[in-house]
């Protein structure tokens, strides 16, 4: 038996569940068999606004295998008047079949349940629903009179200094509008849940980003005792912010209750586009004013996003300016407008991803105006303290990222003039941008057991949505217990393990590692060296609520410097990324192997955001054109060149493991780096994403 091995954190380990994933043995939510399982298929509205007049269930109930049709006329009433674990009320899109209103296209109106998926699908497609149609309004544009400032998870507006006076006095001013389109998570595994009643308890086998979070929401919504609901979510095929409480779990619970049989509801790829959230399009205005030396005197960042008529979601794109840059006059605001569209939600890098595109592209424009290198301009404007909060940073190693990144990328050799490098039919350019994302932690509980056989079992309601959290926690527990990782077994994804934070906001691994470390360290103190462990083991539980509450107020963020080289085809307008480099200061890196995947994956999302992703809403019917993976383009193999991610030493001294969080910072600034490189290649600024070939051709600059 191995003894007293330390130092697993910081070394590369393949995923502990990796073998199961490469052999197909890992079972995801829709793949766990149950005796007597039946299948539910959702029916979505075909109108964008109106009222349901009738649901013609009769003919469908007579179809082979059909067991029931749930709709607003027969579904149980739900409680939606609460604020959940994440501090927000539930999105009514998930609280299905509560009234006859249709607030957007693709709104859930019925669930057909049948013995087989084929029977359920055919019946669902045959179900006739009639509507009273009302005019819909789906258009987002700057200056909408019904837009309003909204807080979200941060103040709507921050303001200091006299913006107009400073701008008027500045040698260099940039005043530009940027837009980003509607973007979708498009994780590979569709949302799926199986619900059943077992011995008076509701069991839900699900795919989500937080088992206790979803269990808590279900208990509140169905007015059940918290202990009467168990949610399991062992393997999750991607989440990116979308996998919380959705229509599939709620409708499955309703049907399982009505039929007293296990009911599985799996969303189709098309249904996901209106039921599972998305990143709102944004319209952003950035005004920057600088003196001759490039030092900012004025900064304004305003962002407008859309939300549904039933749920308010703020995409806080202006928030990034509150962290990145200071100025004598500094104003930021986030506004929303309510439209007849589906509810948006968190999507990888919420706020920061679109916000950094606007702010970092504007910074590149300012660098051009000032005649200062874009890296140097950022170094000159690297603040000592939080620009809005005035708080100290818990480490801001952005300058180190830029210096190391510039060295490795070969930035010093760059000719700053745009549109001057050509290779055959390709125009070449390079660009850079800064990245940041908040480092947070959510209260969590964990249990660590010393087993009689000398192994250890960790139980925590964590979620490994592909981040490698299960493996990271194994390494963290091993170090805290001073044993080799192969003696530690980490069990996750079960709400019965007690409350824990979600896999979201780059907070998962940090939140859970804190709880696991606390329990493991206390357990180690209790174990007598050489002493026997009883057959039931020795278990210690932890709860980080108090420790997190005592944490000093600081600006806690991960940072990074992004570099991209692009080639622009002068004939077709196609933009191809040739290479990317990101250097990050993102806390202590627990597992370099999986961390690289997180950061490179985020950067690849940035390529995809810059060049491919765009969900287009049809004005006439209010839904999306091509709501599928052929119509909604995400980057695939051929779009992704050599993408390198690395990091500088940056442990957070206030975190027991030194973690900051790496899930989102990789996408931040990545699209701006690509867009800035396109300007460098062509001499034309592209302020509207994605940078499609037709936009490149229409904008000109390719005739150089």
């Amino acid at each position: 038996m191995t003894t007293a091995t330390t130092g697993a954190v910081g070394t590369a380990h393949t995923r502990v569940e990796g073998r199961d994933k490469v052999t197909g043995a890992a079972r995801y939510a829709g793949e766990i068999p149950f005796a007597g399982l039946v299948h539910g298929w959702l029916v979505l509205s075909t109108v964008a606004r109106g009222r349901i007049l009738s649901v013609e269930t009769g003919p469908v109930l007579g179809m082979p295998g059909v067991l029931t049709v749930l709709h607003h006329g027969n579904a149980p009433r739900l409680d939606t008047d609460y604020v959940g674990m994440l501090g927000v009320p539930p999105d009514p899109t998930a609280a299905v079949f509560q009234n006859d209103r249709v607030p957007h296209a693709g709104w859930p109106v019925a669930l057909v349940v049948a013995e087989t998926p084929e029977q359920a699908r055919e019946a669902a497609e045959a179900l006739v629903v009639t509507y009273e149609r009302e005019p819909h309004d789906i258009e987002l544009f700057a200056g909408r009179p019904d837009a309003y400032a909204a807080d979200g998870h941060m103040p709507a507006v921050t303001e200091k200094g006299d913006l107009e006076a400073e701008l008027a006095a500045c040698a260099h001013v940039v005043d530009v509008e940027y837009t980003t389109p509607e973007e979708h998570h498009a994780m590979m595994e569709p949302h799926a849940a199986t619900a059943l009643w077992d011995g008076g308890r509701l069991e839900v086998v699900d795919s989500n980003q937080g088992a206790t979070w979803v269990a808590d929401e279900l208990a509140r919504m169905f007015s059940l005792d918290a202990s009467a609901v168990r949610v399991r979510s062992e393997h999750i095929g991607g989440g990116f912010g979308s996998k919380g409480l959705r229509a599939h779990q709620v409708s499955a619970v309703m049907a399982a209750t009505a039929l007293q049989r296990p009911v599985r509801v799996v969303l189709t790829r098309r249904q996901m586009f209106s039921l599972t959230g998305y990143r709102s399009p944004t319209v952003q205005r950035v005004r920057l004013g600088a003196g001759p030396d490039g030092r900012l005197r004025a900064l304004e960042h305003r962002s407008l996003n859309q939300t549904s008529t039933v749920w308010e979601f703020v995409e806080p794109s202006a928030g990034v300016a509150r962290v990145m840059y200071d100025a004598d006059a500094h104003r930021t605001s986030n506004e929303v407008v309510r439209l007849d569209v589906p509810s948006p939600t968190w999507m990888r890098g919420p706020g920061e991803a679109p916000g950094s595109f606007a702010l970092e592209a504007a910074f590149d424009e300012l660098a051009e105006r000032c005649g200062i290198d874009p890296v140097e301009l950022r170094l000159r404007n690297d603040p000592e303290r939080g620009p809005v909060s005035g708080l100290p940073f818990a480490g801001r190693n952005l300058a180190a990222c830029f210096r190391e990144g510039a060295r490795r990328f070969g930035w010093a050799d760059r000719d700053p003039r745009p549109g001057t490098r050509r290779e055959g039919r390709w125009l070449l350019g390079t660009g850079t941008a800064a990245a940041s994302f908040p480092s947070g932690a959510l209260p969590s509980t964990a249990a660590v057991t010393a087993e009689a056989d000398g192994t250890y079992t960790v139980r925590i309601a964590a979620a490994d949505i592909g981040t490698g959290a299960r493996t990271a926690l194994t390494l963290v527990a091993a170090d805290a217990l001073r044993v080799a990782p192969d003696r530690v077994r980490v069990r996750i994804g079960d709400s019965d393990f007690g409350p824990a934070g979600i896999a979201g906001g780059s907070m998962g691994t940090r939140s859970w590692a804190w709880a696991v470390t606390a329990a493991a360290e206390e357990l180690r103190g209790r174990l007598v060296p050489g002493g026997a462990v009883p057959p039931e083991g020795i278990t210690v539980r932890s709860d980080t609520t108090a420790a997190l509450g005592a944490l000093a107020q600081k600006e806690r963020h991960s940072f990074g410097a992004q570099f991209a080289e692009v080639a622009v085809d002068v004939a077709t307008g196609e933009v191809r990324v040739r290479r990317m480099l990101g250097v990050f200061a993102a806390g202590r890196i627990v597992n370099p192997l999986t961390a690289r995947g997180q950061l490179v994956g985020g950067m690849t999302w940035g390529i995809s955001m810059a060049l491919h992703e765009e969900a287009v809403r049809d004005r006439a019917f209010g839904g999306l054109y091509g709501a599928d993976l052929a119509g909604y383009h995400v980057a695939t193999h051929a779009d992704v060149p050599t993408v390198e991610a690395d990091w500088v030493d940056d442990p957070d001294p206030d975190d027991p493991v030194g973690i900051k969080g790496i899930g989102e910072v990789g996408i931040v600034g990545a699209a701006a780096a690509v867009a800035n490189a396109v300007w460098h290649a062509t001499g034309v600024r592209h302020r509207n994403l994605p940078i499609r070939p037709d936009r490149v051709l229409r904008a000109g600059g390719t005739g150089v």
């Binding site: 490469v22 052999t23 084929e118 590979m188 569709p190 095929g237 192997l593 995947g597 992704v640």
Partner: protein, 185 residues
């Protein structure tokens, strides 16, 4: 009398014969997942756009969501569950594991099945859209990262493990070439 809505077929999967009565609407993908409990093959879009359901049918890559079970009668089907040799992983599986060619793992069985076929297709001299010299006598082009990316582009990975997948496919292909050369020698 109403025409029949189901048929008896024999699905030959990973070397094992499965006699089955299937609804004519059932895809090969749903037959694997819902009827035979072979859930390694994943359903990402159910409309042939993501590649997660890729299996090998008579040795060729096929998206099993676009093939009906009744059309699969008697054909040789290999799924991700049929690649390993007992406890010994297929070289492609081992390379994905070692080089972290996945994150959430949901596209992984499709990526792996696709990669197994890519290596065979390339070795057999099939060109791709980025192959420079497509004359039959030119022989297989070097299996560069660009060739791998082009040939693997039907398999989406939203976690975006593309860089690591390409590394894994390259390593497995190099091992495959080594084995082939040893066998020839």
């Amino acid at each position: 009398m109403a025409p029949p809505t189901s048929s008896s077929v024999t699905l030959n999967i990973n070397g094992e014969k499965h006699p089955l009565s299937v609804d004519h609407r059932t895809t090969l993908l749903d037959a694997l997942r819902e009827r035979l409990d072979l859930t390694g093959t994943k359903k990402g879009c159910d409309q042939g756009q993501c590649g997660a359901c890729t299996v090998l049918v008579d040795g060729r890559r096929t998206v099993s969501c676009l093939q009906l079970a009744v059309a699969s009668d008697g054909r040789e089907i290999t799924t991700v569950e049929g690649l390993a040799d007992g406890d010994r992983l297929h070289p492609v599986q081992q390379a994905f594991l070692d080089l972290d060619g996945f994150q959430c793992g949901y596209c992984t069985p499709g990526q792996i099945c696709s990669a197994v076929a890519v290596i065979e297709e390339h070795a057999a001299g099939w060109p791709s859209a980025v192959t420079g010299d497509v004359r039959p006598e030119a022989g297989p082009p070097p299996l560069t990262p660009e060739e791998i990316r082009e040939r693997m582009s039907g398999n989406l990975c939203r976690c975006s493990a593309y860089v690591q997948i390409v590394e894994a496919v390259a390593r497995a292909a190099a091992e495959h070439r080594g084995e082939t050369e040893r066998a020839v020698a």
